[in-house]
């Protein structure tokens, strides 16, 4: 019966562990994408230095703004030339008479505030245009949000299933020991005295059950990281580093195992403790 309880914890924590690794990595990618979102405010060519500084000050003071970086039009042109490679050479002609605008590059504390902040900036004086990937950003945030919620719901659902499964398995173990509980009650044992061994049993079952998932998920992540990470190097996304992620995950799995083990055994013993 102990084997059945430990196996129930093992199977469910293995699922939770695998799912958790996938979710955390997807979340990491989502955060990277979100952090790349920025607002580019093109300053009107009619603005003099004072107007520009005043505009910068106005933007800095807006609620939700994290950083404001000024990029003069010369730098903007250099960036353009550089980004176009050999074809960019043609734009060098404009170095004498730069048609580009000075730009403020803004990042918000919460990436989802981007649209709101951009709207406020649009109303300021000497703002020519505000760009933040209108239309696409809203879609992106929506997709990220939905996938995060779905992932969270799946993990919570999985945990509940785990608790149900473990509680049922432990219940079977306890039914086998109901005679012992019955006698304890008859001779005057307090409920806490009766619960204590079951509490410890649940704790050990949970911890024991979390060991295999920890070993399996850690080694799988170690190999997956070694294989996948080099292939992602050229892209803007990356996996969460093995250390300390796997150690944190191990701690979470042990705590989860212990918690559901204790919860399962206490819930099962409760039924036999009613006076």
């Amino acid at each position: 019966m102990t084997f059945a309880s430990v196996s129930a914890v093992t199977v469910t924590l293995l699922l939770v562990g695998v799912f958790f690794v996938i979710m955390m990595n997807l979340n990491n990618v989502a955060t990277t994408i979100e952090e790349d979102v920025e607002i580019r405010v093109h300053v009107d060519v009619a603005a003099n230095e004072q107007d520009r500084e005043a505009l910068g000050e106005q933007i800095t003071q807006l609620a939700g703004v994290k950083t404001v970086q000024f990029s003069p039009k010369d730098k903007e042109l250099d960036n353009l030339i550089e980004s176009l490679g050999t074809e960019g050479e043609a734009f060098k002609l404009f170095e004498q008479d730069n048609p580009l605008n000075d730009v403020f590059v803004i990042k918000t504390t919460e990436p989802t505030d981007t649209m709101e902040v951009a709207e406020e900036i649009e109303a300021f004086n000497y703002v020519a245009t505000v760009k933040y990937g209108q239309g696409k950003i809203e879609q992106l945030f929506k997709i990220i949000n939905v996938s995060r919620n779905v992932g969270l719901a799946l993990i919570v659902g999985l945990l509940f299933t785990a608790m149900f499964l473990i509680s049922n398995t432990i219940k079977i173990t306890i039914v086998a020991r109901r005679r012992e509980i019955e006698i304890m009650r008859l001779v005057g044992a307090t409920n806490s005295f009766i619960r204590w061994p079951f509490f410890l049993e649940g704790l050990w079952l949970g911890i024991l059950g979390s060991l295999v998932p920890i070993a399996a998920v850690s080694s799988a992540y170690y190999y997956a990281y070694g294989i996948i990470e080099p292939k992602l190097k050229d892209h803007f996304i990356q996996l969460i580093e093995f250390d300390p992620f796997v150690y944190q995950l191990s701690a979470i799995l042990i705590i989860m195992g212990a918690a559901i083990g204790i919860w399962g055994s206490l819930m099962s013993v409760r039924k036999f403790l009613k006076v």
């Binding site: 006698i183 009650r185 008859l186 001779v187 005057g188 044992a189 005295f193």
Partner: protein, 228 residues
């Protein structure tokens, strides 16, 4: 010592097992509870150690009103009441000594006291030389002696026995009754539900007959009064 006043008990399925019970049992008494099957004897017994709660009425044991007793205090009540069952209720994985010691361990007594007290009690029930044996290695009578030893090891004021000789042959039943007599002579109140006509008619004590959840008869040194 034990007093019931206007005690009624109706179970959820509508069965009324106690229908206005009134009784007073003094300290040191030996009381037989007799009556046909389904008359309410077990409910009468179970209400005394708060395994069953009355629907209405008052039950007082040693001055404690069981109707007002909080659930958390029930273990304390049970430490002053020994209970013996027809099916012994022993733990087969523990030996004789451990089964008896169990009652003192759960109330967290000192190990040195437990050892001394368990051996004294096993001597009283005549099982001192079988302390290391498992219940499955003992006869029915010996198992019941272990059960009795467990019920008296913490020196309760009352011992409640529900058909303690029900599973035993006549000779063994007499042995068990001798043990109860011995315990009663030491001042412990005994309440025993039984169907054993010979015992009730031979070892005379107060007899309470229950029929239809009521006390139909209450006699000092009474007879069994039914066909066996």
């Amino acid at each position: 010592m034990i007093e019931m006043q206007d005690v009624y008990k109706t179970y959820r399925n509508g069965v009324t097992a106690a229908n206005g019970l009134n009784i007073k049992i003094d300290a040191g008494e030996f009381l037989y509870v007799v009556g046909p099957s389904g008359a309410g004897k077990s409910t009468f017994i179970k209400m005394m150690y708060r395994e069953v709660r009355p629907t209405s009425g008052t039950i007082t044991i040693n001055g404690v009103n069981l109707s007002k007793l909080r659930d958390s205090k029930v273990p304390l009540l049970r430490r002053n009441i020994g209970v013996v069952f027809q099916d012994f209720k022993l733990l087969n994985t523990l030996n004789v000594y451990e089964n008896v010691a169990f009652a003192l361990e759960v109330i967290e007594e000192q190990p040195s006291y437990i050892k001394k007290r368990v051996m004294e009690t096993l001597e009283l029930v005549g099982l001192k030389n079988k302390a290391r044996m498992l219940p499955t290695e003992l006869s029915g009578g010996e198992q019941q002696r272990v059960s009795i030893a467990r019920s008296i090891v913490n020196a309760p004021k009352v011992v409640i026995a529900d058909e303690p000789t029900g599973n035993l042959d006549p000779d063994t039943s007499w042995d068990i009754m001798n043990v109860f007599e011995e315990i009663n002579m030491r001042g412990t109140t005994i309440v025993m539900a039984t169907h054993n006509k010979d015992i009730v008619n031979t070892i005379k004590h107060r007899v309470v007959a229950i029929e239809g959840g009521r006390i139909a008869r209450d006699q000092q040194k009474g007879d069994y009064g039914y066909e066996a």
